[in-house]
């Protein structure tokens, strides 16, 4: 028999005490694991939803501008050294390290045409990407299905007096208006949207792009990192993160994390107090037993070892049990939160060592004072109970 055998027998045969010791730690570990897992799943979902709710990186051609003053008279800005984006740049973006974090890449070509005596802006887009990027669009009619379909902004449709299914001739090419956007209050109200390949052909700008909008999933990577990777891949263009958009997204994501952290801390403190009270009461109750150990020649360190072995064993069991129950609870709880976009549950097994370490930390810190108190117990005090 060794010292730890005494601790194990104590755990094995004092079942009620062991149960309450484990349950105190188990409840907090299970709650923390549940919160972490729920929070991680919600964060991913929220992050994905928010990222699809608009671009957060804009790529434009690099140009230099100079303010011209002549004889004290301002002649306005002059742009020079204009570079242009092309389809090749899209392929280069595909090669950046964090490509998986880019949920949408939407290239655009802007041109102007004169229709019915009015100058109108044409935006060549990939409708499959653009519709995903601008989920707030409400289309009266249908989404464009072919290259000959157009989508009109509300102001343009009104100015040209065009309705759904009307035909429109642009540069000798006949188009059918498949849908008209409801008022968005943005520049989109003044555009005519057409397929980008058609626009490149029609305006004799094969493979040319005016700008690229990207939506980055920034849950597990800094957006600045993606910007930097893109900029180094495309040195001749300007990559601009839309900070406000990113920060509001990250704020929403982090608010869940802060909430979870707060609740977890409360749970841990509660658990700490439960274990402390349990071990402290146990030490008082075991004063006689400690007296026996001391009378047969146990050192203070031997008493400390017995109590610590008990608490460490209970903490390990509570940590492992708490992890699996916490994961199961998260799986049960998530559907009731009715968060949009939570379609799949992901559990992270790297949380297991974290749960065990957490349980050990709470268990050991809560028991260290009562354990030291027990080990230093004056044998004569213990013997008053004998």
């Amino acid at each position: 028999m060794k010292i730890y055998s005494i601790a194990f027998q104590s755990l094995r045969r004092r079942k009620a005490k062991t149960f309450f010791l484990i349950i105190g730690l188990f409840l907090s570990v299970a709650s923390v694991v549940t919160l972490i897992t729920v929070s991680a799943n919600i964060n991913k979902s929220v992050s994905a939803n928010l990222d699809e709710f608009g671009a957060n990186i804009i790529i434009t051609p690099k140009s230099e501008q100079l303010m011209i003053n002549y004889g004290g008279l301002s002649l306005g800005q002059v742009s020079f050294n204009n570079s242009q984006l092309s389809d090749n740049d899209l392929q280069k973006i595909d090669m950046i390290k964090n490509r998986k974090n880019l949920s949408i890449i939407s290239p655009k070509l802007f041109e102007t045409v004169n229709l019915k005596g009015k100058d109108v802006l044409i935006a060549g887009v990939r409708f499959s990407k653009e519709l995903k990027l601008k989920k707030w669009w409400v289309i009266n009619g249908k989404s464009p299905l072919s290259a000959n379909n157009l989508l009109l902004g509300s102001n343009t449709a009104e100015a040209l007096n065009i309705k759904n299914n009307d035909t429109l001739v642009i540069k000798d090419q006949q188009f059918v208006v498949s849908g008209i956007l409801s008022n968005t209050g943005s520049q989109d109200d003044s555009f005519i949207f057409m397929d980008i390949l058609m626009a490149q052909t029609l305006f004799h700008k094969p493979a040319k792009i005016s700008l690229i909008e990207m939506a980055a999933l920034c849950y597990d990577c800094p957006i600045e990192e993606i910007v930097s990777q893109t900029a180094s891949m495309l040195p001749m263009v300007k990559v601009t993160p839309i900070k406000q958009n990113i920060e509001s997204k990250m704020m929403a994501v982090h608010s869940f994390e802060r909430f979870s952290l707060g609740i977890s801390l409360v749970m841990l403190i509660t658990s700490f107090l439960m274990v402390f009270a349990n071990v402290n009461a146990s030490v008082t109750e075991r004063t006689k037993e400690i007296g026996i150990f001391k009378s047969v020649g146990y050192r203070n360190s031997h008493i400390l070892k017995i109590i610590l072995t008990e608490v460490i064993s209970a903490s390990l069991a509570a940590g492992v049990l708490g992890f699996f129950v916490g994961i199961s609870m998260a799986k049960l709880v998530l559907p009731f939160l009715s968060m949009q976009g939570i379609n799949s549950f992901s559990s992270d097994f790297t949380t297991l060592p974290v749960a065990v370490v957490l349980s050990l930390f709470v268990g050991i810190t809560a028991c260290i004072y009562p354990a030291i108190k027990a080990s230093r117990l004056d044998p004569t005090v213990a013997f008053r109970f004998i």
Binding site: R12, R13, K288, K294, G297, R299, N300, T380, F383
Partner: protein, 224 residues
């Protein structure tokens, strides 16, 4: 040469604001292999004297020398080791560890030693055999009678082959027949060379004693 030497030992306790003298200037010598009975009324200082001899409570004044070692000059760890090597305790209320079996209770002093499991087992079975409890080695404590529990406590006190056995009212909770059995065991141990200090109220046990100590209000009186 004396195995135990107590020189001018005095023990004071603080009880509230009052200082109580439990043992007052006692000196005595006990030889190896002697059976000593310590008698006196409740509160006379018998148990205090025993705890001082057991290295559990330092005297306020005076020296306790065992085998020429001034035990209260030892460090805390050395004093613990000394207790394990030299002393075996037997108490009135047995004081066994309730969640350990008979065998494990007897093994408790060995758990901090260097013996292998097999060596421990052999010693425990021999100790249990000497108190006629070998067949109940795997029982839990609450499955034993009072007399059996006291015999387990004696086996535990003997397991480290101590030179001295300190027994504080060991038959106080036992019937007369069982008490007689326990006293016979003690007598047998003294015959085997152990030194025995028995605190008791029972005058009949004086017949076992080589030396009788009487205490009254912390002072020695009478005796031989």
């Amino acid at each position: 040469m004396s195995l135990i030497k107590i020189e001018n030992v005095r023990k004071e306790y603080k009880s509230g604001t009052e200082i109580v003298t439990a043992v007052n200037n006692i000196s005595l010598e006990i030889d190896r292999g002697q059976f000593i009975t310590v008698m006196g009324e409740s509160g006379s200082g018998k148990s205090t004297l025993l705890t001082m001899l057991g290295g559990l409570s330092a005297p306020t004044e005076g020296k306790v020398l065992i085998d020429d070692i001034n035990i209260y000059t030892l460090s805390q760890n050395s004093l613990s080791d000394f207790r394990r090597e030299y002393l075996g305790f037997v108490f009135q209320s047995f004081h066994l560890v309730p969640y350990l079996s008979v065998e494990e209770n007897v093994m408790v002093p060995l758990a901090v030693g260097d013996l292998t499991g097999q060596q421990q087992k052999e010693l425990v079975l021999a100790a249990l055999d000497s108190v006629h409890l070998k067949e109940k080695a795997n029982r839990l404590i609450n499955e034993l009678s009072g007399g059996e529990q006291q015999r387990v406590a004696i086996a535990r006190a003997l397991i480290n082959e101590p030179l001295i056995i300190l027994a504080d009212e060991p038959t106080g909770n036992l019937d007369s027949k069982t008490s007689e059995d326990i006293m016979n065991i003690f007598h047998f141990l003294v015959n085997k060379g152990k030194t025995m200090l028995l605190v008791t109220h029972n005058k009949e046990y004086q017949s076992f004693a080589d030396k009788k100590i009487f205490l009254k209000d912390g002072n020695l009186y009478g005796g031989d």
